[in-house]
């Protein structure tokens, strides 16, 4: 009997992917359900911190600043929803490809660990950014989310994909080279 070609990734990895997709759906639903409450809370929080947001006390100016922050906050929640959905799928598929096709076990474990941790935490950066906007403003909130989440965990996910691509390319080259040696 031949060994099955596709292998399931480890159960915890599958769970992480599925939970992330569930969080994305939950986040999307909550975002629509509590849109008004969220906007009201964010507006109140920002009005309590006029210096953070550069509010000048003139309605024609401040309304635009508040509107931009609210649009960005909403955008952050939408991007969390989108990225969590996408990264959940990417974690499952990448881990499955690595589990099935990467020969070296240490490399396989590294790829699976990097894509699971990187892929699962990266979308949370958007959630963090949205949460930081009312307290720290758009730009500072973005900088914090970047250095705390997007750069380290996004890099981990990208590194996993590169390693997987490199491992598959190396195996492909080895297999072609092996076949050409066997051929008469």
């Amino acid at each position: 009997m031949t060994e099955p070609r596709w292998r399931l990734p480890p159960i915890p990895v599958l769970l992480v992917g599925v939970v992330l997709i569930a969080c994305a759906e939950l986040g999307g639903g909550a975002m629509a359900q509590f849109k008004l409450e969220l906007a009201r809370w964010a507006r109140g929080t920002m009005l309590a911190r006029p210096h953070v947001h550069g509010l000048v006390g003139v309605r024609d100016v401040d309304e635009q600043i508040l509107d931009e922050a609210l649009v960005k906050l909403d955008g952050g929640l939408r991007l969390f929803h989108l990225h969590a959905e996408g990264m959940g799928t990417i974690i499952i598929v990448t881990a499955m490809v690595a589990a099935s096709l990467v020969d070296r076990s240490a490399l396989r474990r590294t790829i699976v660990a990097l894509i699971t941790v990187g892929g699962a935490v990266y979308p949370l950066g958007y959630l963090l950014w949205s949460g930081l906007i009312p307290f720290h403003g758009i730009a500072r909130g973005k900088r914090l989310a970047e250095w705390l989440v997007w750069i380290p965990f996004g890099s981990a996910a990208i590194l996993a994909m590169w390693l997987l691509a490199a491992a598959l390319a190396a195996q492909c080259i080895r297999s072609v080279a092996g076949r050409s040696r066997v051929a008469p």
Binding site: G54, D60, V61, Q64, V71, G75, I151, S155
Partner: protein, 208 residues
């Protein structure tokens, strides 16, 4: 020991990854019309289409008239009645002039308020300049709506406002924040627009 090419490849890979992770997009923001500017556009387009009854209804029920009533002490007397009369008389030019005066007055008020805030030495210079920049954005959002009308009636004033605006904007972008240098162009905007309001106000038109 790691060979030099390998090390270079690893470093290049890390640099690429960080720049890729750094380059995530977070969406862009396009400033939206506020109720006053949106109502102005509705009225203007209705007038341009010759639908004066629609323009009159939009004027009577819209945010622009409410704001006009709120700003009444800073506006020339009889402005609201003049616009309403022009809409009833299907006089597009007078209606447009009335709306121009209203926005010119809003811009003048913003310019004076920006000057007052820039003069407040208790706040840090950088914060004053940043606030001034936001005020300039608001000034331009309103002035842009009536720039054409102003330039048709008083091209010199329109040019003076645009030049003063650009000068003030230049100080916002300057590497060292200098709120004091931003003040003269803002005062100039207020002074020029006060002249435009004076020359175009209903009482001035009656007198001419």
């Amino acid at each position: 020991m790691i060979r030099r090419p390998t090390l270079l490849i690893v470093l290049a890979a890390i640099a690429t990854m960080i720049s890729a992770a750094h380059a995530h997009h977070v969406g862009s923001y396009v400033p939206r019309d506020n109720p006053v500017s949106a109502n102005f556009k509705q009225i203007k387009f209705s007038v341009q289409a010759g639908k004066f009854d629609v323009a009159r209804r939009l004027f009577d029920e819209g945010a622009l008239r409410r704001e006009m009533q709120k700003q009444a002490p800073t506006l020339p007397p009889g402005l609201e009645a003049s616009i309403r009369g022009a809409l009833d008389a299907r006089d597009a030019r007078t209606a447009e002039a009335g709306l121009m005066i209203f926005f010119a007055a809003l811009v003048r008020g913003l310019a004076l308020e920006a000057d007052r805030q820039l003069a407040d030495a208790t706040a840090p210079a950088a914060a004053r300049v940043a606030g001034g920049g936001k005020m300039l954005e608001a000034i331009w959002r309103y002035y842009n709506l009536v720039d054409f009308a102003v330039s048709q009636r008083d091209p010199t004033a329109a040019t003076a406002v645009r030049l003063a605006f650009e000068e003030a904007e230049g100080y916002v972008k300057a590497p060292t924040p200098s709120p004091e240098r931003m003040r003269p162009p803002l005062v100039r905007i207020a002074r020029v627009l006060a002249g435009v309001i004076e020359a175009s106000s209903p009482s001035a038109r009656r007198d001419s």
